[in-house]
C-alpha cells in the first residue's frame, strides 16, 4: 500500500509540471487582455497637442469628478452594503428572510435606468418639484439632482448590492465557532463585528467595493444625464467630439493603469487578512433575535433602502407603462419576448463562460504561487475598468483582423471569400462580455479561494491529486457560494450592459437594454418604461432563485 502510493506521487509529479508554471494564467490572461492591448497600444504614441488642450481645459475637472465619484460611491456602497449584510446575517427581525433577497433587487436595475427615473422624477420639470411648487413659493432649498451628488446617490443605490452580496457571502463562509465563542466570552456585538466578522470578510468586502467603484468609473450614460463629466465621459468626448479615437484610447489606457493600481491596492488590503476557512461547509453565524424597538428599527432601515432604491423607481416605471399602454402595438408582446429571450441568452452564455474562465484562471494562479501569475490574474480583470465602448473598439479591431486574415488564407487556398465570421457575430459579443466582466467572476471566485487554508490544498497535493482534481473535488465545494455569486453578477451585468451590446450585436439582434437606451436617449420615458421593467423582471428571476439556494437561513 505504502509503496504503491509513493509510486503514484512520483508518476504524478511529471503531470504536475504544467499547471505550476504560470502558463495557463498567461494564456487566459492574454486572451482576455488582448483587445485592451489593441486599443491601449496608442499610449506609446501620445498626441501631445490634444493632451495639452485637455490638460488646460477639461481634464482637471474630470479628474476631480472621477475621484469624487470613486470616493463617494466607494464609501456609500461600503457602508450600505456591509451594514445591511451584517444585519441580515447576524440578526433576526421581522421580515428578515424576505429582506435578505429583496435587498439584492436594485442590482437588476441598470444604473442609467435608475438615473433617468430619478432625473425625470426629481428635476425641475419632474412631478415632485412640480407638486412642491404648487405648495411653496420658494424651492431654492431643493437639491439639484442634475449634479455630482445626484450621480453618486443613484450609483450608490444600484451598486450597493455588489458589496452586500459579497459581504454576505463573506460573513456566511465564516465558521460559526469564532463568532459563537466570542459571544459566549461576552464581547459586545459591535466589537465582534469590527474585530472579528469584518476582518474575516474583508477580502469579499474589498472585492465588492472594487466592483462598485469600477462600475461607477466606467459608467458613461448616468454621468452624462447628471452633467458630471468623469474620465469615462471624457473618453467619449475625445472620441466622438474631437474625433480622435487614438487619443481617447490613451485616456482609457491611463484610466486602466489607475484602475490597476486600485486593484493591486485592494490586494494589499486582502494580504493583511490572515484568517482561513478550514472546514468544508461553514455553518454560518447563529442569529441573535432582535426584539421590540431594535427589531423595528432594523425592519424600517431595510424597508427604506429597498423602497428608495427599488420599489419607488419600479412604481414610476409602471405608471409610465400604463400611460403608454394605449399606444402599444398589437405585436409588442412578441417583440419584447424576443428581446427578452435575446437578453437572457446572451447573459447566460456570457455568465457560463466568464465563470468557467474565471475559475480556471483563479485556481491556476493559486497553484502557480508565482508573483507573475498573480499579476497576470489582476491584469485579466482590467476590462472592468475600461468603458464598454473602448472594449468594443478593441474587439472589432481584433476580430476583423482575424476575419480578414482568414479570408486571405481562404482565397490563397483557392476558395472564395467567406466574409466576416467573428465580427458582428455572437462569438464576438460573448468574447467582449468576457473581457469586460472577467473581474466580476474572477474576483468572486478568487476571494472565496483565498479563504481556503493553504494546507487544505497542500495536503491534497501531497496525496498526489493533480491541480484539476484539487480544483474540482476540494476547492469547488468550498467556493460554491463565490462561484454562484459571480455567476449571478455577470448574468445581471450582461443583462444591463449597453455600449458593447449596441456596438457588436449581430444584425437585427436587439436586446432590452438597447431598446431602453434608444427610447431614453430621445427622452421618451414612457416608451422606455416597459422594456426597462422587462430588464428588471428578467434580472430578478435568477437573482431570486440563486439567492434562495444560498440563503443564510438554510443550513
Amino acid at each position: 500500500m505504502k509503496s504503491s502510493s509513493n509510486g503514484f506521487i512520483k508518476s504524478n509529479r511529471y503531470l504536475n509540471w504544467l499547471p505550476t508554471l504560470p502558463l495557463v494564467p498567461f494564456l487566459v490572461a492574454l486572451f482576455v487582455v488582448l483587445p485592451v492591448i489593441v486599443v491601449a497600444s496608442s499610449l506609446f504614441t501620445p498626441n501631445r497637442e490634444i493632451w495639452e488642450h485637455l490638460w488646460s481645459t477639461i481634464l482637471p475637472e474630470m479628474t476631480r469628478n472621477s475621484i469624487m465619484l470613486v470616493v463617494g460611491v466607494g464609501f456609500g456602497t461600503l457602508i450600505l452594503g456591509v451594514s445591511l449584510a451584517w444585519l441580515v446575517t447576524a440578526y433576526n427581525f421581522p421580515g428578515r428572510n424576505t429582506f435578505e433577497w429583496l435587498l439584492i433587487l436594485p442590482m437588476a436595475i441598470p444604473t442609467y435606468i435608475l438615473g433617468f427615473v430619478y432625473m425625470a422624477t426629481f428635476d425641475f420639470a419632474g412631478p415632485v418639484q412640480t407638486f412642491l411648487r404648487s405648495h411653496f413659493d420658494n424651492l431654492a432649498w431643493f437639491p439639484e439632482i442634475r449634479s455630482g451628488g445626484g450621480a453618486i446617490l443613484v450609483m450608490t443605490l444600484v451598486l450597493y448590492p455588489y458589496v452586500y452580496l459579497l459581504a454576505k457571502a463573506g460573513f456566511q463562509e465564516q465558521s460559526q465557532n469564532y463568532i459563537d465563542s466570542a459571544r459566549t466570552m461576552g464581547y459586545r456585538p459591535l466589537k465582534i463585528f469590527f474585530k472579528l466578522a469584518l476582518p474575516l470578510a474583508r477580502p469579499s468586502i474589498a472585492a465588492g467595493v472594487l466592483l462598485a467603484i469600477m462600475e461607477a468609473l466606467t459608467d458613461f450614460a448616468t454621468v452624462r444625464f447628471f452633467n458630471f463629466p468623469t474620465f469615462s465621459d471624457g473618453i467619449l468626448r475625445i472620441w466622438h467630439g474631437l474625433m480622435d479615437l487614438p487619443a481617447a484610447s490613451e485616456l482609457a489606457g491611463l484610466v486602466a493603469i489607475f484602475a490597476l493600481i486600485l486593484i493591486l491596492g485592494e490586494q494589499t488590503l486582502r494580504g493583511r487578512s490572515r484568517f482561513f476557512q478550514s472546514t468544508g461547509k461553514a455553518q454560518g453565524i447563529s442569529k441573535i433575535s432582535l426584539n421590540g424597538f431594535k427589531a423595528w428599527i432594523a425592519t424600517l432601515v431595510c424597508s427604506l433602502v429597498i423602497i428608495i432604491s427599488f420599489f419607488l423607481p419600479v412604481a414610476q416605471l409602471f405608471s409610465w407603462t400604463l400611460l403608454e399602454l394605449g399606444n402599444l402595438d398589437a405585436n409588442v408582446f412578441a417583440v419584447y419576448t424576443e428581446f427578452a429571450f435575446n437578453s437572457i441568452k446572451l447573459s447566460f452564455l456570457a455568465a457560463i463562460f466568464a465563470t468557467a474562465i474565471g475559475l480556471i484562471l483563479a485556481s491556476a494562479i493559486r497553484s502557480s504561487k508565482s508573483k507573475f501569475g498573480f499579476f497576470l490574474g489582476k491584469l485579466a480583470t482590467i476590462g472592468y475598468a475600461i468603458p464598454g465602448a473602448v472594449i468594443g473598439v478593441g474587439i472589432i479591431l481584433l476580430l476583423s483582423f482575424i476575419d480578414h486574415s482568414l479570408n486571405e488564407v481562404y482565397i490563397w487556398l483557392g476558395g472564395t471569400a467567406i466574409g466576416l465570421v467573428f465580427t458582428g457575430s455572437l462569438i464576438g459579443l460573448i468574447y467582449a462580455y468576457i473581457v469586460r466582466f472577467m473581474a466580476v467572476s474572477f474576483n468572486s471566485v478568487d476571494s472565496s479561494l483565498q479563504k481556503i487554508k493553504p494546507n487544505v490544498t497542500s495536503a491534497a497535493r501531497v496525496l498526489g491529486a493533480n491541480q484539476w482534481r484539487v480544483t474540482w473535488q476540494i476547492h469547488l465545494p468550498l467556493i460554491t457560494p463565490g462561484i454562484f455569486v459571480g455567476f449571478i453578477m455577470v448574468f445581471v451585468d450582461v443583462m444591463k450592459e449597453l455600449p458593447v451590446t449596441a456596438m457588436l450585436r449581430p444584425f437585427g439582434y436587439d436586446t432590452l437594454a438597447v431598446w431602453v437606451w434608444q427610447m431614453a436617449a430621445e427622452s421618451i420615458w414612457t416608451g422606455a418604461a416597459l422594456p426597462a421593467l422587462a430588464i428588471v423582471a428578467t434580472g430578478l428571476l435568477p437573482v431570486y432563485i440563486l439567492t434562495r439556494v444560498f440563503s443564510s437561513s438554510k443550513s
Binding site: 441568452k345 452564455l349 465580427t423
Partner: protein
C-alpha cells in the same frame, strides 16, 4: 451538498438548451432579397422600413449604435462589411465617413431629381433625407418675440440665468458652434460662446427635457431642435412653448439647419437593393413616412411637411455647406472646452 448537485445538473441542462438555441441562430435563412442598414437614427424608423419591404419585397435588416461606433465598425470590417447603407443624424458624420473612404458614389438619376443639389454631397456619396432646424424657443408668458433675434444675441447679459441649452457633448451644440465659426471666424465665435457661458445657462442633455423645463417655469429661452416641439405639441396641443426662427433679418444668415442623411457603403454587397432603398427614401412616399415619423422637413421639395411643423411658418436657412460641420467639429469642441461650456 445534494442541493448543489441538483443545481449543477440544472445548470448543465440549461446550458445545453441555450447552446442549441444559439447554434440555431447561425443556421442560414432562406435566400431573400435584403439590404443591411447601419443607422444612428432609431426613432420611428421601423414602420418606414416595413413599408419599403411591403412595396418592394426587399427585407431591411438594421442595427443601431452611436455614429462613431458604426463608422468604426464599417471601417474595421472593410471590404467584408455587411453594411450596405449608413444613416446618420448629423452632416458632420457623413463628412467623416467620406473622409474615411467608407462610402461610394450613389449613381441614381432618381435621387438627383428628387433631392436638391445643396442637400447632396458634391460627389453624391451621400444625400439628405430630412432637415432639422436648431433654433430659439421661448415661453410666451415671460418673453415676447420682439426681444429675440439671433443666436449671437443670446450672449447679451440680459439673458443671465434665463437660458436653457444642451451640453457641449452633443453634436447639436457642436454643429451650431461650427456654423458660428464659419460665419464669424474662431475668435469672434469664442466671444459669443463665452457670452452664453457667462449667462450661466442651465445645461440639460435632452431637448425634450429642455422644453419641458421651459414649460414648467425654469428659464425663459432655449436652443433646441424644432421637431421636439412638434412632438410635444402632437401629444399636447396646448404645450406652452413657442418657436422663433433665428437670424432671419436682412443681412443675417438664417436658421441653423442639420440633416438626417444617408450613404451607400463602399463595399456594399447588395448594391442594387441599396440603391432601390435610397431611391425609395428620396421618393415622395418614402419621404413623407420618414420625415413625418419625426416631424422633420422632407429634403424632397415636392413633399409637404407635417401639418404641425408647417404651422411653425416659413423661414430662411443658413446656406452653409453642410460638410463644414464635420470639418470644423474638432475646432468647435476645443472652443467649447476653452470657454468652459460643459
Amino acid at each position: 451538498m445534494k442541493n448543489f448537485l441538483l443545481n449543477k445538473k440544472w445548470l448543465i441542462l440549461i446550458f445545453v438548451v441555450l447552446t442549441i438555441a444559439v447554434l440555431t441562430t447561425f443556421l442560414p435563412t432562406d435566400k431573400e432579397e435584403v439590404v443591411y442598414v447601419y443607422t444612428a437614427r432609431h426613432y420611428g424608423i421601423e414602420p418606414v422600413f416595413i413599408e419599403f419591404t411591403n412595396e418592394t419585397g426587399i427585407v431591411v435588416k438594421h442595427t443601431t449604435a452611436s455614429d462613431a461606433a458604426l463608422r468604426e465598425r464599417i471601417k474595421a470590417e472593410g471590404r467584408h462589411t455587411n453594411a450596405d447603407v449608413y444613416i446618420t443624424v448629423d452632416a458632420g458624420n457623413l463628412w467623416l465617413a467620406v473622409k474615411d473612404g467608407l462610402l461610394r458614389t450613389i449613381e441614381s438619376s432618381v435621387v438627383e431629381k428628387n433631392i436638391p443639389a445643396n442637400l447632396r454631397d458634391p460627389e453624391n456619396q451621400w444625400f439628405a433625407l430630412t432637415e432639422r432646424v436648431r433654433t430659439i424657443l421661448y415661453h410666451p408668458d415671460r418673453v415676447s418675440p420682439e426681444e429675440l433675434s439671433t443666436y449671437e444675441a443670446l450672449a447679451d447679459p440680459k439673458w443671465y440665468g434665463r437660458l436653457l441649452m444642451r451640453p457641449a457633448t452633443h453634436p447639436y451644440t457642436q454643429s451650431l458652434v461650427a456654423s458660428l465659426i464659419v460665419a464669424h471666424g474662431e475668435e469672434e465665435s469664442e466671444k459669443i460662446v463665452r457670452g452664453w457661458v457667462a449667462n450661466n445657462p442651465t445645461l440639460i442633455d435632452s431637448d425634450t427635457r429642455i422644453l419641458e423645463t421651459l414649460a414648467a417655469g425654469k428659464g425663459d429661452v432655449a436652443i433646441a431642435n424644432h421637431y421636439y416641439l412638434g412632438r410635444l405639441l402632437e401629444s399636447n396641443p396646448e404645450f406652452p412653448v413657442r418657436i422663433f426662427w433665428a437670424n432671419q433679418n436682412v443681412g443675417e444668415r438664417g436658421a441653423h439647419v442639420n440633416i438626417t442623411g444617408v450613404g451607400v457603403t463602399k463595399y456594399s454587397k447588395n448594391y442594387q437593393n441599396a440603391i432601390r432603398f435610397v431611391e425609395w427614401l428620396s421618393s415622395p412616399r418614402g419621404q413623407k413616412l420618414f420625415a413625418d415619423s419625426n416631424h422633420e422637413f422632407p429634403a424632397n421639395p415636392t413633399v409637404e411637411p407635417h401639418s404641425i411643423i408647417a404651422g411653425f411658418g416659413s423661414f430662411v436657412r443658413d446656406p452653409i455647406n453642410l460638410t463644414e460641420y464635420g470639418r470644423l467639429q474638432g475646432a468647435a469642441v476645443k472652443l467649447l472646452n476653452r470657454v468652459g461650456y460643459r
